[in-house]
Symmetry: C2
Subunit: 305 residues, 2 copies
């Protein structure tokens, strides 16, 4: 994990930011202030045999999934997704109907928030790659990762461990339980919770690398300790029984499962949480780190490089 973050640091060091950039690289999305209009922009890609296998998802699901991943980043700034562009490469013998189904999936996910697909590019390639860039509109200051203070409530909107559980099922050749497999195929980011939290959340992040890893981003960038309440994030019985059937650890799915696309946010204590959020811990002054039961947790998510 550290190696990939180090690579990203070395890359972003090369960039210089102009006066339009309000939030640069290093958050869920960048934010541009353009003539008084505040625009969030995020980009996320999927590569065949790295992020998915073609027999795991239909092209419609692929289209939904890549857009959901991007919109999760947009709503994690509390912005409302308005438009996407997509670059798609696929083997030259790919049927037109495959591209059409992918487009239907993209549009279906856009429809959940009223966004549009406004442009794209096609190429051939040996393996499928899909890159999407999403734009969002902000009507308030963006909620960044660095805004949490001490003694605040840590809250979650959405599920934990479902996507990792679904991926494990597929890797073991099962297509059930549907609840988990479908969450892996098409994540269900809590769009409305994110969009509604702009005036109350102090910090927010999309859980894409894993709960611990992403909580650590808030802890590090906000310079606070994050204490997770073990009871509040305990695996539900269905997740436990699936894990033991597959000889896996349900708690590991909860803590380190990636691509869940739930939202983790902080709020001032005593404040009522926006609909969809539930408390799962608190922040404290101290050395940045993520704790559960008083024990420092190490991130253990997926890494590419």
């Amino acid at each position: 994990m550290g190696k990939e973050f180090e690579l990203i640091r070395r890359i972003t060091e090369k960039f210089s930011l102009n006066s339009f950039v309000h939030v640069g690289p290093g958050d869920d999305a960048a934010v541009l202030d353009i003539e008084g209009t505040s625009i969030a922009i995020a980009t996320d890609m999927m590569v065949e045999n790295v992020h998915f296998k073609t027999n795991w998802l239909t092209p419609i699901e692929l289209g939904q999934r890549i857009v959901a991943q991007n919109f999760a980043d947009i709503v994690a700034m509390s912005a409302t997704p308005i438009a996407i562009t997509a670059c798609v490469s696929a083997p030259s013998n790919t049927e037109p109907t495959w591209f059409e189904a992918l487009a239907v999936g993209m549009q279906a996910e856009c429809d959940l928030v009223g966004a549009s697909v406004v442009g794209g590019d096609l190429s051939t390639s040996k393996e499928i790659t899909i890159s999407v860039t999403a734009l969002g509109l902000l009507s308030n200051s963006p909620v960044v990762r660095s805004g949490a203070g001490p003694d605040q409530v840590v809250a979650l909107a959405g599920t934990l461990g479902y996507s990792a559980a679904g991926l494990a099922c597929l890797q073991f050749g099962h297509s059930a339980p549907k609840k988990f497999v479908e969450n892996f195929r098409v994540p269900k980011p809590p769009y409305h919770a994110g969009m509604a939290s702009g005036t109350s959340a102090t910090a927010m992040i999309d859980i894409s690398d894993g709960l611990i890893s992403d909580a650590l981003h808030i802890a590090s960038q906000s310079q606070v300790e994050i204490h997770l309440d073990a009871a509040a994030i305990a695996p539900e019985p269905e997740l436990e029984s699936l894990a033991s059937a597959l000889s896996q650890e349900a708690l590991s799915w909860i803590l380190n499962g990636g691509e869940e696309h739930s939202l983790l946010a902080t709020f001032e204590a005593g404040r009522s949480l926006p609909e969809g959020f539930r408390p799962i811990g608190h922040t404290r002054a101290g050395t940045p780190g993520v704790y559960m039961g008083g024990i420092l947790q190490e991130p253990n998510g997926f890494t590419h490089f």
Copy 2:
């Protein structure tokens, strides 16, 4: 060519456009009107062994090239590029210095117009793919492909045939003449001519598929004939001698060479052209088509599908 355009048509049919969309898919860039701010957005990808071979370009040149391709689309709407995002996938054994050099190239191209790299995503893959999305700011109505009228001047900013000539050199194992090879490696879109034409050009397009193919886009979308002046686009002697040395046709590079990223635009007759543009033909009322010496020209550019 027709097959790929037909595929794009079938894909874009699936999309529905919201009220932010001022120009949708089908032009060089889409244009969003967001709270009174007019934003152009374009996206373009490069795939190893489809668009380039790694021994043809340094990673710095790759970074410059993919950004130049995108900015050519932005200035073809007469917008000023302000920001990009980039998705990059590469084999897992790729050195960090390769990514750093790619970033340096992207930043270098951004510096030509004052734009910034604001976000990105990394993945592993078997072959390198690079997708960039560029945003531009419009201070006037976008110059679209459909705005040309009859009896207008057809004008060109930039070179013709250089990129195709450079590609041919590389394909034959030569790295000279530098003038052409460097134009293939890093195209030189006439950014300032494009940005300066917003109040005078009636239609404009980035020449990415080839002069005939892209002129035909203006002709079809504007419902005019385009007549090219053969003398005005005749190959220069250096291009002619290179072509005969390689047993190629210089005129074919001029008419059908892709990835040149010059700008083709139309202007009302009698109007002085913005700096960088020179007249190369005229429009006429009639059946959409592109003519040279009175003969209808057929597009013959590259096609993926």
